[in-house]
Amino acid sequence: MKKRALRKDFYMEVKKTRNRFLSILVIVALGVAFFSGVRASNPDMVLSADAFYDETRLMDIRVLGTLGVTEEDVEAITRVEGVETVEPGYSVDMLGDVGEHQLALQVMSVPQKLNQITLREGRFPQEAGECLADTRLVDKGFLQVGDTIRLKSDSEEDTADLVRETEYVVVGTGFSPLYLSLDRGTTKVGSGSLDGFLLLPGDSFAMEYYTQICVTAEGARELRSYTEDYDSFVDRLVERIEALEEEQCKLRYAQIQQEGAEKIAEGEEEIAEGEEKLADARAELADGEKKLSDAEEELADARAELADGEATLAEKEQELLDARAELDDGWKQLTEAKEKLVEGTRKIEGAYGEYEAGAAKLSQGRAQWEAGLAEYEKNVAVLEEYRQQEAQLQQLLQAQQLTDQELSALGIPRLTPEELAAYEGQLAQLTGGIAQMEAALPEAKRQLDAAEAEILAGEQELSEGKALLDAYNAQIEQGGSEAIYAERDLEKAEEEWAEGQEKLEDAREELLEGRQRLTDAEAELADARAELSRGKQEYEEAAAENEPKIADAKEKIVDAKRELSELEQPEWYVLDRQYIQTYVEYGQDAERIGAIGEWFPAIFFLVAALVCLTTMTRMVEEERTQIGTLKALGYSNHAIAAKYILYALVSSVAGSVAGVLVGERILPLVIINAYRILYANLPEVLTPLDVNYSLTSSALAILCTTLAALAACYKELLSVPAALMRPVAPKAGKRVFLERLPFLWKRLNFSYKATVRNLVRYKKRFFMTIFGIGGCMALLLVGFGLKDSILYIGTVQFGEIRTYDVSFGVEEDGEPEEQDALFAGISGDARLTSAMWAREASLDVEAGGVIKSGYLLVPQDPKGLEDYIHLRNRTSRECLSLADSRVVITEKLAKLLGVEPGDRILLKEDETRQVEAQISGIAENYFLHYVYMSPSVYEELYGEAPVYNAIYGNTLSTEEAFEEELRRDYTRLEAVSNVTFVSTMAQRVADMLKSMDTIIYVLVIAAGLLAFVVLYNLNNINVSERKRELATLKVLGFFDGEVSAYVNRENVLLTVFGAGAGVVLGRLLHRFIIVTAEIDMLMFGREIEGKSYVYSVLLTFLFSMIVNGVMHFKLKKIDMVESMKSVE
């Protein structure tokens, strides 16, 4: 555009027609946004998940063994080519008690390398007794960090065989890439569905083997999950790991056999020990009894002895009494004798007195004699002395004549003359006394001699008396001593008696003591007896307790032996990510979005293109005069067309850019965020711009708009300038088809006649509007219809087709009696109204080279099946029976296999068991594939009677608590492998619908936007084309409301037609999306509910009304002066 004037004109045009420019921009943006945004949602979903998987290093492969996996297996797998990381781990489902909640938990070891946990709160467990809990458990309000969980086993195995401690403190919470969604899957423990996982440090597990080995493939991280590339890449590694299976399993088998044998030996030993202990106890008890009886015997002896003793005592007492009497007699005699003796003694003593008196007189006489004698002798002595003293005095007196010298020599003193005088006096006296005395002394001598003779005679007499007395005395004394002897004897006897008495007392005391001892002994014995009986009781109790235990243990050992012998070689399951529920579900959801995104935005696109076309055409038409003028001025067609093409180009490019940005950034975010209700753990949503979708959608949008502009110009540019300068002759009014039906036309209100004519007059606008509104209606219908279709699975599949309430899976290898008992128990349960045996087995169905997995279902009573499962054809509503020799298969299966009634299909349970059956009917079914046949057909086909392994039942109530109780009661039974409630499956469908709600909101909003843009745009064109007419109406005195009504009446009619078209379009699109989006094992409902039509119509009208409301104000602004202007 080299011409400046034209350039200026272009800018002015854009400025002046801002609204038109923007409306093209917006519709292009919308179209591009929806087209690229919805399409990008699938790859964005995959990408977001893949980034999360890579970041947390989600395992590519998991190896499980039917008998666990070992360190050796880990090593073997590590050596496999292409294996990057190998991490063995534990995983076991257990029950956990926290407060009043009982939870079914998947207890796993804390992963170190793979499937890394994202910590949300707290820390990882480090010590024994610590654990990390699933955030889901916290979110559901079961527990919080700091709580303690008590784990217990809910299977045959002891808790202690699984984990070392039973109580664990929650030290943190986190989420695992294994669980993107809220569902934690199913389990055999507790209520049957897992509440969450719990992570313990690896060494908290007491198991002897790992339960799984997680593996990542080298190079798999670079590949995008959910892609063919990734799947086939991992598949190759799966095959390589599977190649190890046989050898490793053989090893494992041998190991288990050995371990088992050891354990059995151990167990047997233990049993022997136990039995021995019991025998010992029994022996001890017998011993005790013997001792007791001995003691009793002894006691009896003692009692006899005591009795003897007592008899002897009585005898002795009598003896003692006799002795007493004798003794008393003796004493009496003694006393008498003593009295006599005393009298004799007294007499003798009298005689002795007389003798004494005589003796005394005699001795007195003798004493007088002696005294006389003594005096005589003394007088003799005195005489002598006198004689001597005379001699001496004489000598002295003689000596005094001598000299002094001689005196001193003799030693005699010299006497004085006085002294000599004294001495001569004394000598004279002395010579007189001597003479007297010599005269008296011979007399005295004769007297004394006479007295002496007398005395001697007396003494003679006395000694004779005395001899007599002494003889008598001797006699007495002898009697006395005799008495003394007797007394002494008596005393001795007395002493002896006393001794006897004493002894008797002692004996009595002893006897008493003996009796006491006896009672004591008896008491002791009673005690001992009591003890013994207690001991016996204890023994019996212990025996009662232990014997069954031992018997049990024995039985167990027998079982174990049998099991060991029956033990089959273990198998490995090498599972890729397709076996992670959440991974698969997420993938399916992404695919579903992809399917919706495949065609759904196309409507938008088409409408956007049409709106652009109309708008551009109108623009060119409006500028007809100007085009003519420019042509007349000599501008080339190119130069003139460039303006309109540029106009379209600029607006559509701008719109595309905005659309790509908004669409690919925001739409996937909205959609994925909607899915995050289900996949709460997805941490981050990645919405990169997708080059492919961006470019294709932009290119398409720009091309459409620009070509529209070109097409519009082309027509005008062909005309000559003069023609262009003349106003276009107004389109002539035409009679419409309806007028040919006068009976109808006449009945029409005048206003409607005008409306009908107007509608027919602007055909392009008519179809465009109908298409726009129809698109809006179709989108709404698809949205609500999708919900209906999915809901259909719940309402029809579980409400009309599979009408039973519960199914019990029964172990196939049980004894017939056991099974009969179980069935009797179930059908006798008052909570169930009816029950029926059936065989359920998974099998592959093949027809025309297509193989699909399904289930074989053989009801025991084909006629009674009606109470549990309704077999009917969806379209003809005809009930199907299993009466003839053919089978009934379900609709989706028939469709996938491309078979019809009468065709033959191959039923394969495995490679070796294949049978061919003919189809008699196709049954309506929405979930999984089934092949139904009667027992007789089964027998005919397989050559044996079916083994029933499921019991279908109808219950009184479908309340959660009721079902929970029922489930708990029956999962306990060993013969029951699972209890499944139809309501649970219905609930899962309902959960699936939750994410659909958001999709529906997106669709409603999209539909609303579409309706708005289309209606607004077309109305705008309509009004601008008819400005003059409307202004005239105003001049004629039409009120604003009447003017609006005049225009809106057309819109309402168009909306009605559009809605009608939308129903058709919506049904087609709905059917298309449903068929595209549904996965193999599902069949969505094919019908849209009446309710959804009503909602869609109401919403469409609401949108239309809103646009009409906006138009009302626009109409109000039309100036009546327009009516004065000349026709352009």
Binding site: A729, P730, K731, A732, G733, K734, F750, S751, K753, A754, R757, N758, R761, R1028, E1029, T1032, L1033, K1034, V1035, L1036, G1037, F1038, F1039, D1040, E1042, M1120, V1121, S1123, M1124, S1126, V1127
Partner: protein, 234 residues
């Protein structure tokens, strides 16, 4: 005695930023009931604005407009619309027929909102279109279209018939015929007809001629003896 239509010091001012441009700058005139009035003036003199104000399509900035004793200058939008639909018949230069409706339907379009309408077919017969009633505007000549427009205006049985250059898009003879129709309508039905034109030549046919120049009434004549339109040449 005041007139059937009375304009007193009617002004219409357009404010363009600082400047005030008067489209009508104090117009005063009276019209008696049953008169055939021609308002004449050069292009841009403000005659269309006066007509718009009189027809209730526009409001005056200042002054009073009395029609049959009612002060329409004080009317609100809705009152003005009611005034238009009940009291005014309008004939446009370009007929402004609804292309999609037949002649009869175009008349009926007006009638369906009218309080006291005449019979559409009768009115069409009166304007000489008894044969063309079921034709669409595109099938009619200009004169015929204008007759339909006049019929549409008359059928409402208005108090005032306002015509904006009714002959502007017509050839001489047809124009004359239309003017005659208008004059006859005035005479025969006692309808008050106001015709706006830049063509002074037709002034003699009017009872009252109002000349407008630069937004003011420059002259107002009462024609004691109006000349029938057939006798006027231009």
């Amino acid at each position: 005695m005041s007139g059937f239509v009375e304009l007193r010091q009617v002004k219409k001012l357009y404010r363009m930023g600082e400047v005030t441009i008067p489209a009508v700058d104090g117009v005063d005139f009276e019209i008696q009931k049953g008169e055939f009035v021609v308002i004449v003036g050069p292009s841009g003199a403000g005659k269309t604005t006066v007509l718009n104000i009189l027809g209730g399509m526009d409001t005056c900035t200042e002054g009073t407009v009395l029609v049959d004793g009612e002060d329409i200058s004080s009317y609100r939008n809705r009152q003005l619309t009611a005034y238009r639909r009940d009291e005014i018949g309008f004939v446009f230069q370009f007929y402004n027929l609804v292309q999609n409706l037949t002649a009869l339907e175009n008349v009926e379009l007006a009638l369906q909102i009218s309080r006291d309408p005449l019979d559409a077919a009768q009115v069409l017969r009166e304007v000489g279109l008894s044969q063309r009633m079921d034709n669409f505007p595109a099938q009619l000549s200009g004169g015929e279209q204008q007759r339909v427009a006049i019929a549409r205006a008359l059928a409402k049985n208005p108090k005032l018939l306002l015509c904006d250059e009714p002959t502007g898009a017509l050839d001489y003879n047809t124009g004359k015929a239309i003017l005659k129709l208008l004059q006859d309508t005035c005479r025969e039905k006692g309808m008050t007809v106001i015709v706006i034109t830049h063509n002074s030549a037709i002034a003699p046919m009017a009872d009252r001629v109002i000349r407008i120049k630069n937004g003011k009434v420059s002259q107002m004549l009462l024609n004691e003896h109006p000349i029938p339109v057939e006798e006027i040449e231009w």
